[in-house]
């Protein structure tokens, strides 16, 4: 029973990671790449760690995986936000197919 839950959660996580990395490979722009990859890969690793929690149960490894979930959740999102803000201030252009740039009016 626990093995089936572990397998399903880990397969869902790997599926999200595949979608995120397809976005990292195919999208045209650094902003689109980071927006695709960070969300999908964070949610995928979150699901994999949840599967590890179900696999080990109440033991030391289970609690380590349980602690790793909020650390991953906050650090990955905050790092992505800081990185994309620094990228904009660095002066990287948007793709020419982009239609709207709201942040330009905000920092003016």
């Amino acid at each position: 029973m626990n093995n089936m839950v572990t397998l399903i959660l880990i397969c869902i996580g790997v599926l999200f990671n595949i979608f995120g990395c397809i976005g990292l490979l195919r999208l045209p722009d650094v902003y689109n790449r980071l927006q695709s990859a960070t969300k999908c890969v964070t949610l995928g690793c979150y699901s994999i760690l949840l599967g590890v929690v179900f696999h080990f149960g109440f033991s030391d490894a289970g609690f380590k995986a349980l602690i790793a979930i909020p650390i991953l959740f906050f650090s990955a999102t905050v790092a992505a936000h800081a990185l994309i803000r620094g990228t904009y201030h660095f002066g990287t252009k948007l793709d020419e197919r982009s239609v709207k740039d709201d942040y330009k009016e905000v920092i003016k």
Partner: protein, 88 residues
């Protein structure tokens, strides 16, 4: 332990190879930094799957340490990109 988890492990390693492709090939400097950031998150998943296979718990410690170091490194790179010094 569970033998059928080897296939997700191989898929995860192939996905980190995709990140290495983005780091090597990336047209601009921020592309490479995005690749490093995503690679750091994927390694945690690899560590978690290896921990379920071997049953050892110290591999999850490697994952947690890798998350925190990747977080600090990405923040430093973002500061460098926005053109500020590290203490402002």
């Amino acid at each position: 332990m569970i033998d059928f988890l080897t296939i997700p492990l191989y898929i995860q390693i192939a996905l980190s190879a995709v990140c290495l492709y983005r780091i090597i090939r990336g047209p601009t400097i921020p592309d490479r930094m995005v690749g490093i950031d995503i690679f750091g998150i994927l390694v945690v998943g690899i560590c978690a799957i290896i921990a379920t296979q071997t049953g050892k718990s110290f591999i999850l410690d490697i994952g947690i340490a890798w998350i925190i170091l990747s977080f600090i490194g990405t923040l430093t790179l973002a500061k460098y990109l926005s053109g500020k010094k590290l203490n402002e």
